[in-house]
């Protein structure tokens, strides 16, 4: 299986340092306080935010409590499979997303409330964690929840001695290490960096981390643009502000 041809093209025609088509839509779920759909290539995730709100559950007196749930639709991959919300993968993903996004929220401004994040993976083609994070970021911004910064996320990998940005499902199955990263551009801070499946020498790791940062930066640029567009449109629709 050749992941990068000698001409420098990947299986889908991209070059190693290119991101896939990125699409962001806000307000896709009317019943939620904030919602967004993010598409990276064919991976599509719908994020919905409910809150901050009061619930019967445990609330913290000083800050908001964030809960997160990730559900993968059975039709999201090539073969129909019920994966459910409780599987180990879903639990781990939900925990990672929750920690990352919660880190970005001004929780201390919202005491005794709860923020619920629901993610639905509608199409899965690699980079699910990153797409969830991006969708979550957009949904939180859509809900008007105070945030510390933008968060952009993308995944890098290393196959056939080439760093690859934004891997699709085929490339993720290639067996090389995967590094999803979440990054705050204005504060220049890496919020989350994970490595799955594999070992890397330190120099390669540094190269990959740099590439991931660049990729996240590009993603945040797109996120910011989407948010600004949406805000302007809302403003226009509302008339006198």
């Amino acid at each position: 299986m050749e992941y990068v041809t000698p001409e420098g093209l990947r299986t889908d025609g991209r070059r190693p340092r290119e991101l896939r088509k990125l699409g962001c839509q806000l307000g896709t779920l009317e019943s939620a306080d904030g919602s967004a759909t993010c598409e990276m290539g064919f991976t599509k995730v719908l994020a919905a935010v409910f809150g901050p709100r009061d619930t019967a559950g445990k609330l913290h007196p000083d800050r908001a409590v964030v809960r997160c749930q990730v559900a993968t639709a059975p039709f999201s991959a090539g073969e129909r499979r019920r994966r459910g919300k409780r599987g180990p993968l879903a639990t781990e993903q939900a925990a990672t997303i929750r920690e990352t996004l919660a880190e970005n929220i001004h929780l201390e401004l919202l005491p005794r409330t709860q923020i619920d994040l629901y993610f639905h993976v509608l199409q899965a083609d690699g980079g699910i964690l990153s797409t969830c994070l991006n969708a979550g970021m957009l949904a939180l911004a859509d809900a008007g929840i105070p945030l510390k910064d933008l968060v952009g996320s993308c995944t890098v990998g290393y196959l056939e001695s080439t760093p690859l940005l934004d891997l699709n499902y085929i490339e993720e199955s290639g067996g090389g290490p995967l590094l999803p990263m979440a990054y705050q551009p204005n504060m220049d801070k890496i919020l989350m960096l994970q490595m799955d499946k594999g070992k890397l020498p330190v120099e390669t790791f540094e190269v990959l981390a740099t590439l991931a940062t660049e990729g996240c930066r590009a993603v945040t640029g797109q996120i910011r643009q989407s948010l600004m567009n949406h805000t302007k449109q809302l403003a226009v629709a509302r008339g006198s502000v």
Binding site: L22, S31, G51, R53, G144, L147, D149, T231
Partner: protein, 298 residues
């Protein structure tokens, strides 16, 4: 350098609306400043600033926006107002909510706010109408007044320090809501005005625009037969759909716009159930553009 491919597909009502209004040249905004989350806000270091809602100071000391919205400077106060957020109660707001539970002389009401909303026993008009002390018996009979699941309209009496809301229904305008429809729209679309409850006598519809984004539409008027009742119900639906249409297009919702939309629907002979369709919504956009132009002229 990382490179990305932009997605060029958007198909939602908002962009439709935006397109329509912009095309018609009715998108005057008075050049406000939009900021996005994390954007740095310029401040004059000599002057200093007062940090308002929607902003925060980052570890380096720079002032940044916490939400996406419009930047407002009032003297030294720097505020970023989001265009969509959960309802934040203020004293005097008329709200519509649903009773969720009863505990210890209070009804807990769900207003879709961030914080808890409560209606204490002392704050309602007791059946009988007289002012008296609330007894233990009253407490046991709370369910007789409002029970779980009831929809009520109330006014915000106070917002406490920790953010929780106290409501009261000490007026004939407020209280239990009966036959009718409750809708939810984005709270920011509903402006704070003098009057929130409207009686549309001609149509036979009463309309309450709750500041928390809950809207109540009900047919009123005595029964003069089945037809009349049916007409009123039809009108109630029409009004409700008008509110829905405005909500979908993210247009401001107040009596004027609602009546306008109802008007064009009647003029255009649009059936109630078609009021959610694309054709009608486009017409709403047109109408709104026209209305704004007139306002400009005015």
């Amino acid at each position: 350098m990382a490179l990305l491919v932009e997605s060029t597909e958007t198909a939602d009502w908002l962009s439709l609306c935006h397109a329509g209004l912009s095309a018609a040249g009715a998108s005057h905004l008075g050049a406000p400043t939009f900021v996005c989350v994390g954007d740095a806000i310029e401040i004059d270091p000599a002057q200093g600033f007062l940090r308002g809602h929607g902003t925060h100071v980052d570890p380096n000391g720079a002032l940044r926006a916490s939400v996406c919205g419009v930047l407002q400077r009032i003297n030294k106060l720097v505020v970023v107002r989001p265009l969509k957020s959960r309802y934040i109660a203020e004293t005097g707001d008329v709200v519509v909510g649903r009773v969720t539970s009863i505990a210890g002389r209070r009804w807990k009401v769900d207003l879709h706010t961030r914080q808890r909303a409560e209606l204490s026993l002392a704050a309602v008009i007791l059946p009988g109408g007289i002012q008296r002390r609330r007894t233990a018996e009253d407490e046991l009979n709370m369910r007789g007044v409002f029970k779980e699941g009831d929809l009520i309209s109330a006014e915000v009496q106070a917002v406490r320090g920790d953010g929780s809301v106290n409501l009261h229904t000490r007026s004939a305008r407020y209280g239990l809501l009966g036959e009718g429809q409750a809708l939810r729209v984005v709270p920011n679309l509903i402006r704070r005005q003098r009057a929130h409850s409207h009686e549309l006598g001609e149509l036979g519809v009463s309309l309450i625009l709750g500041c928390n984004g809950m809207v109540w539409v009900a047919p009123v008027g005595g029964g003069e037969g089945e037809d009349e009742a049916a007409r009123r119900r039809g009108n109630a639906c029409r009004v409700a759909n008008a509110v829905r249409a405005l909500g979908r297009l993210c247009l401001p919702i107040f009596l004027g716009t609602v009546m306008g939309v109802v008007g064009i629907s009647v003029e255009g002979g649009v059936a109630v159930r078609e009021m959610g369709g694309q054709a009608f919504l486009e017409r709403v956009v047109e109408w709104e553009a026209g209305r704004r132009k007139e306002m400009d002229v005015d």
